[in-house]
């Protein structure tokens, strides 16, 4: 690739991001009418909605991060065994749509739920309680992954000095752990808050009469086709995400200065380890409960009247079009993962491996902006911007919106790995006469295969489970499978929703397994090569 081609591709990507991220959002903001703002804000519902949304989201965020913190501590600060397996099991809830978490709770604790019927206790799921538990289930794995990452990279030498100085465990926690954790913890809290605050899946099925902002937005747009009111709520949902994004950006600039010199050493403590086992196992049992219920209900004759084994539900689900929508979902997920991988990787290559310039900084910033846009808001902005265009109503727009919605995380994964390479590699290749495209193919890609697999897997799984960005853009033809859940739920086809949840879960598990096997192959190949030369 010569310099001209290289520049052309860069501006092509920049133009693509402008059209697919910046323009739709600006258009959304421009569409808002002043009368509607006053109408929405002065409606009696509005104050309640804000109060509901904030109260429930704050409670759920607090509990979710707390749970994730305890689990991350059990995994990283105790001597329990099977830590890798525990960690994988904790993240299983990420493989199903948020709305499935709500459905799982309905099936277990709803008025006709398995637990309700079995024990005769009704926990009054619908409303505050359901929202908090469902949102926790949906968000804690993300917090767990982020916190594990932080705990793993704490420098032990500071703790050694503290021990020499005679500081107690509590003093160490207060003076070392907490200050170390403060900044990353803020990032985690904001990430979880935004996730829960903007999700309509859980409150739609277990929120009961309690109305939250995303549910209101969903109903206004889907039910009443009122885009302007939807846009106003969209802006309100955008606010915390944008604030979080800016704080996070500032946080990161100063936060990454420490380098680990010694990993944490865990002392012996049988009681602590025992309690950790109990806690981890109980958590896993609780998160597997809804999954087992989905599997169970998919294969009973008629819940709750006739619980004998049958394939009736499976057959009925396929009659209702589950097969076709599964193919939709697989197509969307595969295309999102493939195109998304190529786009995010190449963008990261441009920003990480060339000189800092205005266009590169812009590219970097726009690439991360998608972190700050709730899917439901992005989806609405696409409806308003792309309506009437060729891609509207096709699978392509769903692939596009997913790609943009999930752009930031794989982009950052690639950016971070590509940034770690020697800073002089470009200079060396320029003087040796090796073109940029050859460097990409012969050096960078072979070195970052595992990161690319991780990026692919992230994009695929998220495209399979998402119900946010795609919700307003899907029609009966291009509908992805996950969006059948709210439809079937409103038609009381409970067993079919269970079956869909388990199908999505199964597909994602298969993908994760495939990725695991490929990674293992890479490791084996590398070990063989290493063995040959040693």
């Amino acid at each position: 690739m010569n310099n001209k081609g290289y520049k052309a591709i860069k501006f092509l990507i920049l133009a693509f991001l402008l059209v697919s991220v910046v323009f739709p959002l600006v258009n959304l903001l421009l569409r808002i009418r002043w009368e509607d703002i006053t109408a929405v804000c002065s409606s009696p519902q509005f104050g309640d909605m804000i109060k509901n949304s904030l109260l429930t989201t704050l409670t759920a965020t607090f509990l979710s991060v707390g749970l994730a913190m305890l689990l991350a501590w059990c995994i990283n600060r105790t001597n329990i065994r099977f830590r890798a397996i525990f960690s994988i099991l904790f993240t299983l809830p990420m493989l199903i749509p948020s709305i499935s978490h709500g459905m799982g709770l309905v099936l277990l604790f709803g008025d006709n739920g398995l637990v309700t019927n079995l024990l005769g206790i009704n926990i009054q799921l619908f409303g505050f309680c359901g929202f908090v538990i469902g949102s926790m289930l949906y968000s804690f794995p993300v917090a767990f992954l982020m916190l594990t990452d932080i705990l793993q990279y704490e420098d032990y030498t500071v703790y050694e000095s503290a021990q020499v100085l005679g500081l107690s465990k509590f003093q160490q926690f207060r003076t070392i752990t907490l200050p170390n954790m403060r900044k990353p913890l803020i990032s985690v809290i904001f990430a979880v808050f935004t996730m829960i605050f903007t999700d309509y899946g859980v409150p739609l099925v277990v929120g009961g009469k309690m109305m939250t902002l995303p549910v209101y937005m969903y109903r206004e747009v889907i039910g009443l086709m009122d885009f302007s009111k939807g846009a106003i709520i969209g802006v309100i949902l955008l606010l915390p995400a944008v604030i979080a994004f800016i704080i996070d950006l500032k946080n990161k600039d100063s936060g990454n200065s420490s380098t680990i010199t010694k990993p944490y050493i865990v002392g012996k403590n049988k009681l602590r380890d025992g309690l950790s086992y109990v806690f981890c196992i109980v958590t896993i049992l609780l998160i597997s409960l809804p999954l087992l219920t989905f599997a169970y209900l998919s294969f009973v004759k008629q819940y709750p009247i006739n619980m004998s084994f049958s394939f009736d539900n499976v057959k009925k689900s396929f009659d209702l079009g589950v097969g076709m929508y599964l193919i939709n979902s697989l197509t969307i997920a595969l295309l999102t993962a493939l195109i998304g991988l190529a786009a995010t990787y190449f963008t990261a290559y441009l920003t990480a491996r060339s000189k800092k310039s205005f266009s590169n900084m812009t590219l970097h910033l726009i690439s991360m902006v998608s972190l700050a846009i709730p899917g439901i808001v992005l989806g609405l902005s696409y409806v308003l911007f792309f309506k009437g265009s060729l891609i509207y109503g096709t699978l392509i727009i769903l692939v596009l919106v997913n790609m943009v919605h999930f752009f930031a995380s794989p982009y950052l994964l690639a950016y971070n790995s590509l940034n770690k390479f020697n800073e002089n590699l470009e200079d060396v290749s320029a003087t040796l006469g090796i073109s940029k495209i050859k460097m990409l193919l012969d050096v960078y890609i072979p070195c970052t295969k595992e990161t690319m697999l991780e990026m692919f897997s992230y994009l695929f799984v998220n495209a399979m489970v998402t119900i946010s960005a795609v919700s307003f853009l899907a029609n009966f033809k291009n509908l992805p499978l996950a969006l059948l859940i709210p439809q079937f739920d409103s038609q009381s086809l409970i067993e079919a929703t269970a079956f869909i949840s388990i199908v999505i879960f199964g597909v994602n598990i298969l993908l994760k397994l495939a990725i695991y096997l490929i990674r293992r192959r890479i490791h084996v190949q590398e070990a063989v090569k290493g063995g040959e030369s040693a």
Binding site: E423, A430, I434, V443, P446
Partner: protein, 261 residues
């Protein structure tokens, strides 16, 4: 016809470079003879690295000429200038073995591709790396990695080799070893070398001539012996002579060779 331009391997005339309003290189001129080992000595920020990057074409000058064998090369791409560069941090391709690292660059060159394997092995042997051909860079010591980087550059048979503080990242013992080796390598390959350093002692040990720079100017360019005996100005006295004498004060005291002014 022999002129000043063609007699010398490299002639730099009135080179200037400005960054954000600051003059990094202030109209400097010098020449490098064929087979010469020229050190560019100066503190950080004196413009020596910028000079090197401009010579090989990784950056463009704002004014002045660069003539190699009498021909202006400022318009040429870095790979077309017949020069090679070696960096402090080696910059090897991490996924390739030692042999592949050297062979890779050869394969791209049409004139060298046919014998790439042979040339790569031969060059690596000359640098004493024959036992490490199949190792990855991360299995080598810093000194070994630097020798691979040198082999990668020398295998392409450049007219001039530029070295950007190539041994500064090594520990003291290895630095001493590499210092001696560099000199031997230059003899073995009969190459013209421009060596950037901020270490007075390295420059004095290795160089045929030393070019002392400060704030974008050339303070003095001469043989080590002449610089020591006839420092051009107070800067040379402070930055070069005083520093060297301080370092070897105890030694010089014993031998009674310290200068008294």
């Amino acid at each position: 016809m022999h002129t000043y331009e063609t007699e010398n391997k490299l002639v730099v005339k009135n080179l200037s470079k400005i960054y954000d309003g600051t003059e990094i290189l202030k109209n400097i001129s010098f020449e490098v003879k064929k087979g010469e080992f020229l050190s560019v000595l100066g503190p950080s920020g004196c413009g020596k690295t910028t000079l090197l990057r401009i010579l090989i074409g990784l950056e463009r000058q704002d004014g002045g000429q660069i003539l190699k064998d009498g021909k202006e090369i400022s318009q040429l791409a870095p790979s077309a200038r017949g020069m090679g560069i070696i960096f402090q941090n080696y910059a090897l391709f991490p996924n390739m073995t030692v042999l592949q690292n050297v062979e890779y660059a050869l394969k791209i060159r049409k004139d060298l591709a046919a014998a790439s394997r042979k040339t790569a092995i031969h060059t690596l042997e000359q640098l004493g790396l024959e036992e490490h051909l199949d190792k990855k860079p991360n299995q080598l010591s810093g000194g070994q990695q630097q020798r691979v980087a040198i082999a990668r550059t020398l295998a392409l048979k450049p007219d001039i080799v530029l070295l950007d503080e190539p041994i500064s990242a090594l520990d003291v013992t290895n630095r001493e070893i590499m210092k001696k080796e560099l000199k031997a390598i230059q003899k073995k390959f009969d190459s013209t070398m421009i060596f950037i350093t901020h270490e007075q002692e390295e420059a004095f040990y290795l160089s045929d001539r030393i070019m002392v720079m400060s704030e974008g100017n050339i303070e003095q360019i001469d043989t080590p012996a002449n610089i020591y005996s006839h420092p051009a100005n107070q800067y040379i006295k402070d930055f070069v002579i005083a520093h060297l004498e301080q370092k070897y004060e105890s030694l010089l005291k014993c031998t009674g060779r310290i200068r008294h002014e």
